[in-house]
Amino acid sequence: MAEQVALVVGATGLGEAIAHRLVADGRDLILCDREEAGTSGRLAETAAATGARVVTARVPLDTPDTFRDALPDLLRQAGHDALDALVYTMPPDDAFTPRPLAALTDDQWRRLAEDPVRHGLTVLQAAREPLAPRRGRFVLVVPAIALEGAADLVPLATAAETLRALAKSAARRWAADGITVNLVTPDVFAYGAEHLRGTDVDRGEAVLPGPTTPADVADAVALLLDPAAARLTGTTLIVDGGALMTP
């Protein structure tokens, strides 16, 4: 992985686990978040061990061009002029709190369904240019309820499936540049949403023992970034311990 750099959007939870895995594999890392992005202790330790360069930045995603405009400087700081991988994991704020649709206000809908799509779209729109020179890879991580739905989580399911359709569209557009776009959809428990145990989203159908962990999700992302995954684009890896098993 020498000389490779990955940019991860989302610095906590799954984002942290993915960042850690990519650094452990020897990549340099740019870690962005809408909030102040810090590096976890283990990330710093692993980076010191591998000699990876790690750049962190707070990048607002609310304004369309902020992310695009921030990229050149972030790449320079990381010692690169293009990206090998971009992983988007940003979970919306407060996304896993169950709320019946009929009681949602316009503001809640905007915050829970529209804003997350806008944030993802901002990153997707800016991704082609830095990925093209190295025939890089884009991986979008959204919860698997995009595929299955879940009661009282309509805004999250809607936003996640919107981003999945936009990512597939990007996969079609960017294939000629050698850029691949793939998706990883973990179950909600990989996001730490333990309060959803026993609710509609939890059908207890995973066949592998134990819960899905952030490290499992990071492994799936690493698979999609492996050279052996070159022929995969527009695909979705469902990381749910074998609950869904479709298509």
Partner: protein
């Protein structure tokens, strides 16, 4: 269907008109809604001329207030609502989008009608649909499942509606209200215009359809829509029915 009141958004032309005509032919009282009242009234008149029952009212699905008003007017006039078909799409749905550089305002236009519009329509209709154990039907598209290189924003909002349908079907299941999607291929006025501009286009599309033709909004799409709006589909929820002559078989 008797005693069945169905409201259709974007019903002045194309798929919305075809579905409204089919619902009326099946015995529904159809509330024909459109942004412009005159356009909706033409379809309502057409239904009346064929012996059906219809009433037109204005509804701009990008305005929660307008949606609420249309639903309230329906309740006041007919006292019930059994089915809502959210068919309206942005006028710019068929425009190719430069995904990497498109203005966020263009995304907004798509999202206001299809993404947020689905929410405001569902929220406003819920009390009435609950009373009748009715049905909500969203018009989506295979583009939302496959993605689209050129119509990427259209694909995005049509994907949005798929996630919405599945989640809301699970949420509303216990109430008996069903939520489904319908993904058609049909000659709408927009597509007819494109065929006129590019005479080989219809053939190119039809070649990818096992049934070798592009569907008709009323005769091909209408009946499946009636099925998903009425009691015959009483045990069907959270599904997307693809009605496109076998073009997509992956579901």
């Amino acid at each position: 269907m008797t005693e069945h009141v169905a409201l259709v958004t974007g019903a002045a032309a194309g798929l919305g008109r075809g579905i409204a005509l089919a619902l009326a032919a099946a015995g529904s009282t159809v509330v024909v809604t459109a942004r412009r009242l005159a356009a909706g009234a033409e379809v309502a008149d057409e239904i009346a001329a064929r012996g059906g029952t219809a009433w037109a009212t204005t509804c701009d699905v990008t305005s929660a207030e307008s949606v609420r008003a249309a639903i309230e007017a329906t309740a006041a006039r007919f006292g019930r609502l059994d089915a809502v078909v959210h068919n309206a799409t942005s006028r710019r749905s068929g425009e190719p989008v430069d995904l990497e550089h498109a203005d966020p305002a263009l995304w907004r236009e798509h999202a206001d009608v299809s993404l947020t519009g689905s929410f405001t329509v569902a929220r406003a209709a819920y009390p009435l649909l609950r009373a009748t154990e009715g049905a909500l039907l969203l018009l989506t598209s295979p583009a939302g499942m496959r993605g689209s290189a050129n119509l990427s924003f259209y694909a995005g909002v049509k994907g949005a509606q798929r996630g919405f349908v599945k989640a809301l079907a699970r949420e509303w299941g216990p109430t008996g209200v069903r939520v489904n999607g319908l993904a058609p291929l049909a000659v709408t006025p927009a597509l007819a215009g494109a065929f006129e501009a590019d005479p080989t286009m219809e053939g190119r599309i039809a070649d990818k359809v096992p049934m070798r033709r592009v569907g008709d909004p009323e005769t091909d799409i209408g009946a499946p829509a009636v099925f998903l709006c009425g009691p015959a589909s009483r045990y069907v929820t959270g599904q997307t029915l693809i009605v496109n002559g076998g073009r997509d078989t992956f579901l």
